[in-house]
C-alpha cells in the first residue's frame, strides 16, 4: 500500500535534507534536521518525522549519502587485505612518484591498505594478456588464510595486466569465494578494466574497504524504513548522477563516494532544463570548500579520473565536480610583505569564523560578509562585534584601511580567487565560462554569485527556489543513467565507419535493455553519443559531441578540428586525427516533477514589497538596501539591485544595477551588468 509520494533525502556533513513530492496534488514537503553520526539513519528518520511524511505513503525514496566519502577521508574503513602479483605488493604505497604540494618537502601519505595486509603470490600476465607465470593456487590459498587470520573483512585481488586478460583474477576470485566468509571480494579488473596499476588498484581497494561500511548502513536504514511502513525499494544515489537499488549498491560501493556533489549537479540539470538554461556552471559554496561543475546542453559531465584527495584516484565514471579550496571559513590575513591574502587555510566549521562565536579568532570570508551587512546581524548576536574587532586588528589596521574597506577587500580577493578557479575548471574542460549561466546554491553560494558572475563575464545567475536543499532535490529528480566507453585508439583514416556505427548502436541497445529491466517508471529513453579524439601522437583528449549514431569520417575530422581550434587557437593541418574512445550515455528520463511549488504559492504576495531594509556596504560606501523575504516574492517579479533577498537557509545579494526576475518555478534570474 503506498500513496504515490516520491522522496529525496540527502545526508550532508551538518544537515540531513528531505524533499517529498506528491505528483498527484503537486504538493511539496520539506525538512532540514541535524545529521546524526556515526549512524546517519537517525537523521533520515527524523527528517521524515519533521516533514510529517508517512513512510507508508512513499512510492519511491532516493537517498544520497556521505557514508563512503567520510569513511575514505577519515580512514574509517573495514579491515581489508590485498593479494597482488609477486613483486608488486607495494604499488598502493609507492603511488606515482609525487609529493603533496609543488613546493615544500614535507607531508604525509597513508596508503589505503597497510603493508602487513598486502601480500603477493606468483602469477604474471604480460601486457598483451599472455601468461608468463601461472597462478600459484597453493600460494594464493595460503595468502587468503593469512589475511583471514589477520582479521580482514574485505579482500582485493589485483594482478598486473588483468585488464588485458582477467583469467588469473577470475580463478583467484573463484578460490576466494570458496573460502572467504562473505561477499566482500573485489577483483581489480571488474570495476575498471584499464591499464595503470596504481589507479586501478586504489579504485579496487577503496571499493573493498567501504563495502562492509556501506552495506551495514544501507541495510540498517532499509530495515528501519520498512519497519515504519515503507514497502518499496530504497534507491541510492551514485556518483555518476544515476541511482541504484539498495541491495546492489555495495557491490560497486566506490561509485557512491561522490554521491552528494553528484546529486547537486543533477538538481541543477533538472532546474536548468525547466528554466530553459541548459548550459550552467554550478557553484556550491560551503564552509571550507566550493564545488564547481559544468553542465553543457543539459548534460552533467562525467569523468573517470576523479582524485578525492592527494594521491587517491578513483577511476570510475562519476559526475565531474571540482573542488576549489575556498569557502566561507577561508582565513584572511596580511602577510609579512604587507599583501592581503585570503585562504588557502580555513577555519572550517570548528572553530569556524569569528562571527560563529565558537572560539574562532581568525577573520574569515563570512566575517567580512557580516561586517558589510550582507548577512543578517541579528543571527549572530554578540559575536558580530568580535568579528568587527578581529577585522580591525588583523586586516584594517595593518593595511591602513577602515573596517568596511578591509572587509570589502577580503570579499573582493576571495571572489577573484574563486572566479579564477572557476575559469580554470571551465578551460580545463575546454569551454569558455561566458557561454554559461551561474547556478548558485549551498549556504554561501548566492551571496557571492552575482559578483563572481561579473568577474567571469557570465551574463546570468540562476538561483533555484531552495538553494539549501539542492542535493535532496537532486536525488528525487535524477534520471536512470548508464554510461559506456569503448576504446578504439585508431587513426581516423583507418577506422571502419560501419564498425563505428555498429558499436554506437550496440551500446545504445544495451543501455535501453538495462533501463527496461529497472523497476522505475521512465518517460522516455534517449542516447547521447560522443567521441574522445586527439591528433595522432598527443596524450590528452578532446571530447567531441556527435550529432547521431552514424557519423561520417569527414564529419568527425571537421568536428574535431573545429573544437580544437576553439580551444587552442591553432590549426594542425600537418597531422591527422586519432579516435580514442566512443562514448554512449543512455538516459531513462523519469516523469518530470513539478518544481513550481518548492516555494508555497499561497505565501506569495501580489506586490513586491520589502520586509525591511538594512545598511549594506558596496564600493562607494553604505547604502540603505531593501530586504525581501523570498517566499513572499511574486512570480512576475522585476526589480533592480541593490537588494538583499533572504530565505530560510541562504541570502542572495543583488549588486546595484543588476536586474532580478522570476520564472514560473520561482527561480530567481539575475541579469548581471557591468
Amino acid at each position: 500500500m503506498s500513496g504515490g509520494l516520491v522522496a529525496g533525502v540527502d545526508v550532508g556533513g551538518t544537515f540531513t535534507d528531505l524533499v517529498v513530492f506528491d505528483p498527484a496534488s503537486g504538493g511539496v514537503r520539506l525538512a532540514k534536521v541535524p545529521t546524526t553520526l556515526p549512524n546517519q539513519s537517525g537523521g533520515v528518520l527524523a527528517a521524515f518525522e519533521a516533514a510529517g511524511a508517512d513512510l507508508a505513503e512513499m512510492d519511491l525514496i532516493v537517498h544520497g549519502t556521505t557514508t563512503t566519502t567520510n569513511a575514505v577521508l577519515e580512514r574509517q574503513l573495514a579491515r581489508t587485505g590485498i593479494i597482488t602479483t609477486e613483486g608488486f605488493r607495494d604499488v598502493l604505497e609507492l603511488g606515482r612518484r609525487t609529493r603533496p604540494q609543488a613546493y615544500g618537502m614535507s607531508g604525509r601519505f597513508v596508503p589505503i591498505i597497510p603493508r602487513d595486509l598486502r601480500l603477493d603470490v606468483p602469477e604474471r600476465m604480460d601486457a598483451r594478456g599472455r601468461v608468463v607465470t601461472p597462478l600459484d593456487e597453493k600460494a594464493f590459498r595460503d595468502a587468503l588464510a593469512q589475511l583471514l587470520q589477520a582479521g580482514c573483512e574485505a579482500l582485493v585481488i589485483h594482478f598486473l595486466h588483468a585488464y588485458a586478460n582477467p583469467a588469473h583474477e577470475l580463478r583467484a576470485g573463484e578460490i576466494a569465494r570458496e573460502i572467504w566468509p562473505n561477499a566482500y571480494v573485489t577483483l581489480g579488473h571488474a570495476l575498471l578494466s584499464e591499464a595503470r596499476e596504481y589507479e586501478r588498484g586504489v579504485t579496487a581497494a577503496v571499493n573493498a574497504s567501504v563495502q562492509p561500511v556501506l552495506e551495514r548502513y544501507i541495510s540498517r536504514l532499509a530495515g528501519e524504513l520498512a519497519a515504519r511502513g515503507y514497502g518499496r525499494d530504497l534507491l541510492v544515489m551514485n556518483g555518476n548522477g544515476g541511482m541504484v537499488a539498495a541491495q546492489n549498491v555495495a557491490r560497486e560501493a566506490v561509485k557512491t563516494v561522490m554521491s552528494g556533489p553528484a546529486s547537486g549537479v543533477m538538481a541543477a540539470v533538472a532546474t536548468g532544463r525547466r528554466a530553459g538554461m541548459p548550459d550552467l556552471l554550478t557553484y556550491d559554496m560551503g564552509g571550507t570548500s566550493t564545488d564547481v561543475a559544468m553542465i553543457r546542453g543539459g548534460v552533467a559531465p562525467v569523468s573517470n579520473e576523479i582524485e578525492v584527495e592527494y594521491a587517491m584516484p578513483i577511476h570510475v565514471p562519476m559526475v565531474d565536480v571540482r573542488t576549489v579550496g575556498a569557502g566561507g571559513g577561508s582565513i584572511a590575513r596580511v602577510d609579512e610583505g604587507g599583501m592581503l591574502r585570503v585562504g588557502p587555510d580555513s577555519a572550517g566549521s570548528a572553530p569556524g569564523p569569528v562571527c560563529y562565536g565558537r572560539g574562532g579568532t581568525l577573520v574569515t570570508i563570512s566575517d567580512a560578509n557580516l561586517i558589510l551587512g550582507r548577512l543578517p546581524a541579528q543571527r549572530f548576536g554578540q559575536a558580530a562585534e568580535a568579528a568587527r574587532a578581529a577585522m580591525q586588528d588583523q586586516i584594517a589596521r595593518p593595511l591602513g584601511l577602515g573596517v568596511e574597506q578591509a572587509a570589502e577587500a577580503v570579499v573582493r580577493i576571495a571572489n577573484t580567487h574563486m572566479a579564477g578557479a572557476i575559469r580554470m575548471v571551465s578551460i580545463s574542460m575546454g569551454a569558455d565560462p561566458r557561454d554559461f549561466a551561474l547556478f548558485a546554491f549551498g549556504g554561501a553560494g548566492p551571496l557571492h554569485a552575482v559578483a563572481l558572475a561579473r568577474e567571469l563575464a557570465v551574463p546570468r545567475v540562476l538561483v533555484p527556489a531552495r538553494p539549501g536543499i539542492t542535493n535532496a532535490l537532486g536525488c528525487v529528480v535524477a534520471d536512470l543513467r548508464h554510461d559506456f566507453v569503448r576504446t578504439l585508439n585508431r587513426p581516423l583514416d583507418a577506422l571502419d565507419m560501419a564498425e563505428v556505427a555498429a558499436i554506437l548502436a550496440g551500446l545504445e541497445a544495451e543501455g535501453r535493455r538495462l533501463i527496461a529491466a529497472e523497476k522505475v517508471a521512465v518517460r522516455d529513453v534517449r542516447a547521447e553519443f560522443s567521441a574522445d579524439m586527439q591528433f595522432l601522437g598527443q596524450t590528452h583528449l578532446l571530447r567531441v559531441a556527435l550529432p547521431g549514431a552514424a557519423p561520417s569520417r569527414e564529419s568527425l575530422q571537421a568536428l574535431f578540428e573545429a573544437a580544437y581550434h576553439a580551444r587552442f587557437r591553432v590549426d594542425l593541418p600537418e597531422i591527422r586525427a586519432n579516435l580514442m574512445n566512443l562514448n554512449v550515455s543512455v538516459t531513462g528520463r523519469r516523469a518530470e516533477l513539478d518544481l513550481s511549488r518548492l516555494i508555497d504559492p499561497a505565501g506569495r504576495r501580489a506586490l513586491v514589497a520589502p520586509s525591511g531594509q538594512r545598511r549594506v556596504w558596496f564600493e562607494d560606501g553604505w547604502q540603505e538596501v531593501p530586504v525581501y523575504w523570498r517566499d513572499h516574492l511574486p512570480l512576475d517579479l522585476d526589480l533592480t539591485g541593490p537588494a538583499v533577498i533572504e530565505q530560510m537557509d541562504t541570502t542572495l545579494l543583488v549588486e546595484p544595477g543588476c536586474r532580478v526576475t522570476s520564472d514560473a518555478d520561482g527561480n530567481l534570474i539575475v541579469s548581471v551588468t557591468g
Partner: protein
Amino acid sequence: MVDPVTLAVIQAGLQQVCDEMDLTFSRAAFSPVIAEADDRSDGIYSAEDGSLIAQGSKGLPVFVGVMQFSTRTLIERIAAGVTAAPEPGDIYIVNDPYLGGTHLMDVRFAMPVWRQGRIWCWLSNTGHWPDTGGMVPGGFSASAISAEQEGLRLPPVKLFKKGVLDAEIWAIICSNIRVSDQRIGDVKAQASALMVGAERLAALLDRYGDGTVGAAVAQMRDLAARQMRAKLALIPEGRYRATAVIDSDGVVNAPLIIALAVTRAGERLVFDFSGSSLPCAGPMNSVRATTLSSVYLAVRHVFPDVPISAGAFEPLEVVGIEGTFLDAHYPRPVSGCAAEVSQRIAEAVFAALVQAIPDRVTAAPAGTSGNFGLGGTDPETGAGYVMYQISGGGYGGFAGGDGISNGCSTIGISKAPPVEIMEQKYPVLYRRYALHEGSGGAGQYRGGFGLDYEIELLRGMARASFVMDHGRVGPQGVLGGGDGAVNRVEIHRQGAPVLVPEHLSKAQDIVLQAGDRVRVRTPGGGGYGAPADRDPARVAEDLALGRYGTAEAARLWPGKP
C-alpha cells in the same frame, strides 16, 4: 600607489594568466614529457630587463627564475643589434644553455606583448623537448665532453615571423633532431600557450589600465622582497656551512664537491659557493642561470608562501661560483645540470638552512631524477625504441614526521609512468616494483623509502644508460640523523657475475641481451634528529610492516624495537 585591494586583484589576475598558459601548453602538447609530466613552465617578464613578474604555479620548479635570465639576455642582444628586433607576431626560439638556460632539451620561446606600438612585457615559456639531437637519443649522455655532442644549439632566432612559422628555420631544426615528425605539434602548443596568455593579459590591461597594472607590478615586486626579508629574519644571524657530493661527472671517476656557506647578514642571505669543484670534463656542469634557479627553488621549498617574482629573489645573493663547475661556459657539456646538479645544489641549501631553522627544513631528499634509458630495436615489430624510466626516492625526515616514500625529484613535479604502460610500449618485463626496504635514514623521524625495481629485457638486444646520483654517499641525515641508503645499479647478465657500473650511478651504452636484468634501488631520505629520540612504537611499527629487518632495526635504533 595602487590601493591594496586592486593590487591583490591584479596579482591574482597575473597569476591566472600564467596558470592558464601552463594548462594550455600541457593540454595541447604531443610529447608525454610535457603533456603528462608537465616538464614546462610559463611566465611574464618585464620589458626593461626581463625580470620575473609572475610565473605559473604548476610550472616545473627548476624553471623558477631561469627564464628571467634568458629573457634578459634576449633583450640585451636585441639592444646590441646582435639579434633582430621584434615586430608584432614574432616569437623567438632559443635553447643555448650559456645564454640563460639549463640544458639543450629545455627549449624556450619568448614573445613580446605590444601595447600602443611598444613592448609592454614579455611572455616566455620553456618546454622539455624529447630530443634535440646529439650523441644519444633524449640528450642525457653520461659521457659527452663538449656541447656539440649534446645536441643542436639554437641562439635566439625568430621561429615565428608576424605570426607565421618560418619554414626554413623549422626545416633546419627538423633535420637535426630525432622523431621530428611530431614536434610541429609541440611547437604549436608552445606558441599557443603564449598566444592564449597574450589574449588574457590584454583583457587584464584593458580592464585596469596599463598604468595601474604597471604600478601594481612594481609594488608587487617590493612587497615580495619585503616578505622574503621578513622570512629571512627567522634565520638567526650567522654562517652555516654544508657540502653536497656528486658521484662523478660521468667521464672522470672522482667526486665533485659543492661547498656552500650561507650567511644571514642583515636583510640579505648570501650563498657562497667558493671552494666548489672546478668545471668538469663530463656533463655534470651547471650554468649560471640553473645554479641561481636551484638556490631559488630550494628557498621556495623552505618558504612556499612567498610569491614567485623577481622581488622575492632580491634579498638572495649567490657568490663564489665563478671558475667552478656551477658556472660553466661553452663548450663544457651540461646535460646533467637541470636534472642532477640542481638537486645537489638544493640539498646543500637544505643542509645549511636546517642548522639555522630546524623546524622548517627537512633532512636531505633522495634528490636524483633516476634517469635510466634503454634503446634498441624490438625484433617482434622491427621498430626502434627509446625507453626512459624515471624514478623517485625517499624524502628526508622533518620535525614532526617521517619522510615521504618514492617522492618525485626536488626540482620536478612529474609522475612516473605506470609499469603497465611501460610494458605495453617496450619489450621489457618488470620483475619487481617495490619499496626499497631499509633505505630510510635512521633518526627521531626517519627518512622515506626509495624504490626497488628490476627490469628484464624480453627480446632482442638493447643498450642501457644511467644518469643518476647518490651512489657514493646517501642523502644526508641532519641533527644526529643517519644518511639514507645509497642508489644502487646492478646489471644481472645470464651466466655472468653481477655488474656494477664503474661510476656507480652513471654509465652509457651497456649492452643487454634478452633475459638480462637491470636492478635499481633508489636512495632513501636522510633521517632527522637522533635515533635515540624515536618513539619506540614507531620503530615497532616499521618492523611489523617489514620496512626494516630485525637486525637492521636493532643496529639503527639500539634498544628500541
